[in-house]
């Protein structure tokens, strides 16, 4: 939002990165240093209150597995927000993709051929929804907020119609076995999250696609004048996020062994929150995958620590609100000290 920008510009840029020790943190890690500190503090609280329970391998995997689904969505969301957009329909798209990929017809086909059919279906549905979003926003010149709000209503409604509001159990064993398995003790879901994170980081920071995303989000007019096809690029960003939602649906199908129209409820808020807490500018032009991953981990670890400590849900909500504010303030102060805003 503009206000933030304004306020930020009041404190003059420090301009130059400091040498020596601080330089270590002036890269992506530096910008996220506050978040790392917040996460570490959270872990310390976890260890103090729940001892070895918290640090156990199983518990860590539980946190990561929970983080993996919303994590994949959040990484996609990082691209859209960095590119100056927003997507409220992610949860609905996840639901629709999960339902579509677990209909009787799809599952029968998958049993007859290969479970890859289900994955393809989910990705196609996700990508298709993203494409519709992108086309309406970029070529239809409509506000992203409105288009994706409409998609939120539409996709979830369609999911309900397809599933007839029933839960569709996944009976394709090969599918469940594959995604439910471990690789060297690490759950496949966590591996997927890790791979998507790395791919996202490379895509945003090391490729022309990523550079152009920053340009389109930071100054779309300048990007257009530099010869970038802004509309096409914007559309691609939403397709990318749609695909991430499709993948998340697959992961959710594996995790819950069921497809339902209630999957992905409120993912839009969770994902946007993780992205923004991570340090990506909601107004576009600056994005960080590392920050997003940290944001997701902070939220999931928070829930885990709460659960281990048997906290009442209302108290949890209040505590969550306070912790969000404190984490961001911390992040800001640390970033300011490190000379990167």
């Amino acid at each position: 939002m503009k206000t933030d920008i304004a306020v930020a510009s009041e404190q003059p840029d420090t301009g130059r990165r400091q040498p020596g020790f601080a330089a270590l943190f002036s890269g992506p890690a530096g910008r996220s240093l506050g978040l790392v500190i917040a996460l570490v503090l959270l872990c310390v609280v976890g260890v103090i209150t729940s001892g070895s329970l918290f640090m156990s391998f199983d518990n860590v995997m539980t946190i990561l597995r929970l983080a993996s689904v919303i994590g994949v969505v959040s990484i996609g969301m990082t691209f859209v927000i960095t590119g100056g957009g927003i997507d409220l329909s992610v949860g609905a798209i996840v639901a629709l993709a999960s339902v579509w990929a677990s209909t009787l017809a799809t599952q029968t086909l998958a049993t007859d051929t290969h479970w890859i059919v289900m994955v393809t279906t989910a990705l196609l549905v996700g990508g298709g929804c993203g494409l519709i979003n992108g086309l309406l926003i970029a070529y239809g010149r409509m506000a992203a907020f409105i288009v994706t709000l409409a998609m939120l209503a539409g996709a979830r409604g369609l999911a309900e119609i397809i599933a007839q509001k029933q839960t569709q159990v996944v009976t394709v064993d090969a599918f469940v076995d594959f995604f439910g398995a471990d690789v060297l003790g690490i759950p496949v879901l966590v591996v997927i999250f890790a791979l998507v994170s790395i791919a996202g980081w490379v895509l945003l920071n090391r490729t022309t696609f990523g550079r152009r995303t920053l340009a389109v989000g930071g100054n779309p007019e300048a990007a257009r004048l530099a010869g970038i096809k802004v509309k096409r690029h914007t559309t691609l960003l939403y397709v990318l996020l749609g695909l991430a939602c499709g993948l998340a649906a697959v992961m959710l199908l594996a995790r819950t062994t069921a497809g339902t129209s209630t999957h992905g409820l409120l993912y839009e808020l969770d994902a946007i929150a993780a992205v923004v807490i991570g340090g990506t500018l909601l107004s576009g032009g600056r994005g960080t995958i590392v920050g997003t991953v940290l944001g997701v981990l902070i939220f999931t670890t928070l829930t885990n620590v709460f659960t281990l400590n048997n906290l009442d849900t209302s108290t949890q909500a209040v505590a969550k609100g306070v912790i969000i504010v404190v984490a961001v303030l911390l992040q800001q102060r640390v970033a300011a000290r490190n000379g990167s805003t």
């Binding site: 518990n59 539980t62 689904v69 509001k165 069921a258 339902t260 409820l265 048997n310 906290l311 849900t313």
Partner: protein
Amino acid sequence: TSNEAASVQTNLGPRAVSSNDEPGKEVVIGFSGPEADHGWLAAINSTAIAEAKRYSDVTLRLAEGTNDPSLQISHIESFINQGVDAIVLLPTDGAALTEVATKAMEAGIPVVNVDREFTSEFAARTTILGDNYGMGISAGTYACKLVEEHNLGPDAVIAEIAGLDSLPLTQDRSDGFKDALRECGQKVDHRVAAEFTVESGEAEASNLLQAVPKIDIIWNHDDDQGVGVKAAFDNADRNEFFFIGGAGSANAMRWIQDGEMEATVLYPPTQAADGIRLARLLAQGKGMSDLVQVEVPRRIVLNAPVVTKENVDKYLPLGFES
């Protein structure tokens, strides 16, 4: 009226006291339910907690209520990691939680399923069902009785205010209602779905009253949203119909006493409390003292009786403050 910190516990009246209540082995029970965002679910939680407090040998671990199956799965996973002695689980979605419940059972932790059934026999040691379909049947059967008693004829206008429509349990209730009505040649003429909240109840009911100028019978799935539904009736000055509720909150029972409501179909929020008790017995290896068999049964289905002016006094102590 509901501002006193009411707990159903104190209202429950006389309860069976048996040798099973003697302190036994110390047990840790994990409890996870959906987001307690309205009265019935809040009552589910509070009765469960209160029940656990009654036993000095029970330590209760309470997970954050959620409507996201994925998050609930991770709660169960952390219960398994913690090595609790038993798990009481009110799933957001029975099918979605089956896998992880099975995992818990395989890890030797007995799972007590409350209210929403799993898709596998092996996922729960014991299931306590509130019978949503049966609730619809009760409501429908009672509606049929009203049609007959008051001679409303085959064209009686029957409306339904459902709860959160995307939940399978809402579908079950609606199916039961429809099926029971069919028995007496009736059908649901108009249906809206609220969201279990007072506000949505008021909004949906307001629109419904406009859509149908004259109604004979209304069944509202949930007495929580019923507060709003009732407000809408009062706002519009409409009372030409029989108003049947669901769940059985204390508010609803008082309305029945005052003649402002015809009846409500009970859906007791004490299931989870029962679940805690059974989980304790399971973890301690005990049976149910009122039964001859030495083990806790696999399946308990609660009754969905209809509370009317005649019997409301008997049920009022069970009514939860919502």
